[in-house]
Amino acid sequence: MAPVARSGSALRGKLPRAFRLVVLPVIVLVLWEIGARMELFNPIFLPPPSRIFSAAQQLLLSGELFRHFADSLRRIAIANVIAISVAVPLGFFMGLYRPFEEVIDGFLNILRPIPPLAWIPLAILWFGLGEKSVVFITLISAFFAILLNTIAGVRGVDKSLVRAALSLGATRRVLILQVVLPGTLPSLFTGFRIALGVSWMSIVAAELIASSSGLGFMISYYRELLRSDLILVGMLSIGIIGFLMDRGLLWLEQRLLPWRVRLEL
């Protein structure tokens, strides 16, 4: 058993990381391109990568992609700032004070299972079509991710650390500010990352229905024009941007909480 495992890891060591990352996408793209050129499938429904690439160029040069992206990003930023500023303090108090949590919890447990998209009709009634409705939908999805992770973070603070602080004479104020708060940060970051992920999911759906700009709108607009190449450009943009933002948050977490990342290794 042992020699097999060793040769396996040696193999992994020999393949450059960059190669391992791109090998599968490249194979898929090549087969896809060949399939489209040989008309194995209808290019109207699934255009070849070369067409998607030139469509992406066209959208980038005209500034259209960037305009829609900026609209979506602005909405996500507004929604997450509001979600964080409400959910973090609320979650913190719910985690700290049992009775407070019990009062709030029953109410939230009924709201939580409702998919954010089910709020769209009501959002349109309340806020009309446009910016506010989209922000509202995004806000709802981000809110619960942040709230639940904040509560879990407060609860998950190492009991020994709390006891150590109390035995060193910590007052309630010191305990909360210097022990519970920093102890909650790793879980808060997890909440932010999940919130950002679900933000992209719900904002696209909200923009499909309730907006005349943003990446979600762009995708639905080009469906009406049967431009599957442009639809795919929109989809891939969301994938790439979502990935980059998640990595950005991960990088930020490693910079701000080096002790946490190192402990996990």
Binding site: A164, S167, A170, W259
Partner: protein, 262 residues
């Protein structure tokens, strides 16, 4: 000698009597820790030694009975009882210096005074030069040294230690035992620390203690209190002395009949 910690008829139950999960963790336990004395609570798992220490620390309440420190009943955790944990319980987001000054800063000592006291204690446990390291950058032994410095620097009335060396490798453990004695000893005009120490190692208890409270499980009771006559300072020669081995053998033979196979 003045009594530092008085444990008076302490009983601790978990669950109600008659419940399926009813446990009598401590059954009418009494003894006194004198000022400047080092006492170990020794016994197998489940004898209630850690529960008793937690009651003294104020982390748990006694079902019956009272714990007094300097005559005052304990009503919760406080800086008069410093705690050293098995898992170190260092704040991972603070450097060694910040950890050691934690209690001093709460007392509102001036910054410079905090750092002076911290430096002195960090040096005392042999960690001079590591002030700005984070706990994750230290070995287990160094983490426990930092935790020890943090508790002692806070100058508590009594030091409580809950199996502090149980997670440390055997070689480092011997070195740390001497370190603990050194740190708790009288120095610079300060009297010797009063220490209540929980362990399940007979040799460790003998090496460190003035007296050993031997406890038995289910229900947790005091079996006997053994005085340890060896002179201080203690060192490797103490461990090798025939009297040391003989005492260890005696304690083992009294405990043995009370340890049931699981």
């Amino acid at each position: 000698m003045a009594v530092k910690v008085g444990i008076e008829r302490v009983t601790k139950q978990y669950g109600g009597e008659g419940d399926a999960h009813f446990v009598l963790a401590l059954d009418d336990v009494s003894f006194a820790l004198d000022d400047g004395e080092f006492v170990s609570l020794l016994g197998p798992s489940g004898c209630g030694k850690s529960t008793l220490l937690h009651i003294v620390a104020g982390f748990e309440d006694a079902t019956q009975g009272t714990v007094r420190v300097n005559g005052k009943p304990v009503a919760g955790p406080g800086a008069d009882r410093g705690m050293v944990f098995q898992d170190y319980a260092l704040f991972p987001w603070m450097t060694v210096m910040q950890n050691v000054t934690f209690g001093l800063r709460i007392k509102n000592l001036p910054q410079r005074e905090c750092e002076r006291i911290a430096r002195e204690h960090i040096a005392l446990v042999g960690l001079a030069g590591f002030e700005n390291r984070f706990p994750h950058q230290l070995s287990g032994g160094m983490r426990q040294r930092s935790a020890l410095a943090r508790s002692v620097a806070n100058n508590p009335e009594v030091l409580l230690m809950d199996e502090p060396l149980a997670a440390i490798d055997a070689l480092t453990r011997n070195a740390l035992q001497e370190e603990i004695l050194k740190v708790c000893d009288a120095r610079d005009g300060r009297p010797r620390k009063s220490v209540l120490y929980v362990t399940h190692s007979i040799e460790e208890a003998i090496f460190l203690s003035d007296r050993i409270v031997v406890m038995t499980p289910r229900p947790g009771r005091i079996l006997e209190v053994v005085g340890v006559p060896f002179a201080r300072p203690r060192n490797d020669a103490t461990r090798l002395a025939p009297e040391f081995q003989q005492l260890a053998g005696e304690i083992w033979s009294t405990l043995k009949s009370h340890i049931k196979p699981n």
